[in-house]
Amino acid sequence: MAATSLGVGQILVYYFGVPFKTQILIFWFVTPLAYEFFLWYNLTYYGPFINTIGIVVTAVYAITGAGISTVTPLPRDELTQEQQQRISHE
């Protein structure tokens, strides 16, 4: 789910030209909501089962990874000139 959310973010930024900052907001709004939806759906319709644990563990893992990146300073030297220009204009 988090990978899909990242993929959608890549399309938003590199195809639709959405600013990086806006993508961060969209990601942090949509991704936890998507996990909560699947958790709610499975618990409501199928009751608690091993998948519930799976969803919680993968959600924590994915959100931790994205959280680390969000608070880490930008790796400017690893970015292309175009990416650096876009970020500095935001």
């Binding site: 789910m1 990978a3 899909t4 990242l6 993929g7 959608v8 973010g9 890549q10 399309i11 930024v13 590199y14 195809y15 990086f20 993508q23 961060i24 990601f27 942090w28 699947f38 499975n42 199928y46 089962f49 091993i50 998948n51 799976g54 893992y61 994915a62 990874g65 994205a66 680390i68 990146s69 969000t70 930008l74 690893e78 970015l79 292309t80 990416q83």
Partner: protein, 137 residues
């Protein structure tokens, strides 16, 4: 007599389907070393501030190993229903296709790979539900 023949044919068909689907686990193992080499470069090309560090994606190896171990256990003990095996095969085909298409590195490939990711989420959901409903866990 006809009943026994029908039952035998049905068992053979089920067994073939199950084995074919179980063998699909080899697809990602074959495809990734060939088409997955440029994943690190693509993470830079499609940089996002929320993309986790590259090491974070190594979890996919753990997921696939656990997934395949569960499938081998289910295959040996005949635990899964045909629908579960079909979902298992679809997941493996999906992951392999994703690796090939995402590796192209174009915007078009990126869009198709996101569609594949969404299908992967839904296929996994159907797989889990089929396991719960058929007591395949």
């Amino acid at each position: 007599m006809d009943g026994i023949v029908d039952e035998s044919l049905s068992f053979a068909a089920d067994s073939t389907l199950t084995t074919a689907c179980a063998l699909s686990a080899l697809l990602p193992v074959i495809v990734f070393p060939v088409f997955g080499k440029n994943q690190r470069d693509l993470a830079r090309k499609w940089f996002l501030k929320v993309t986790p560090p590259n090491i974070w994606f190594s979890v996919w190896f753990v997921i696939l190993i656990a997934f395949d171990a569960a499938a081998v256990h289910a295959w040996a003990n005949k635990l899964w229903a045909p629908i579960s095996w079909i979902c298992f095969a679809l997941v493996n085909v999906n992951i392999s296709l994703w690796t090939i298409i995402y590796g192209k590195g174009t915007v078009g490939a990126l869009i198709i790979s996101v569609v594949l990711e969404a299908i992967l989420v839904l296929t996994n959901q159907v797989l889990w539900v089929s396991l719960v409903q058929n007591k395949g866990l």
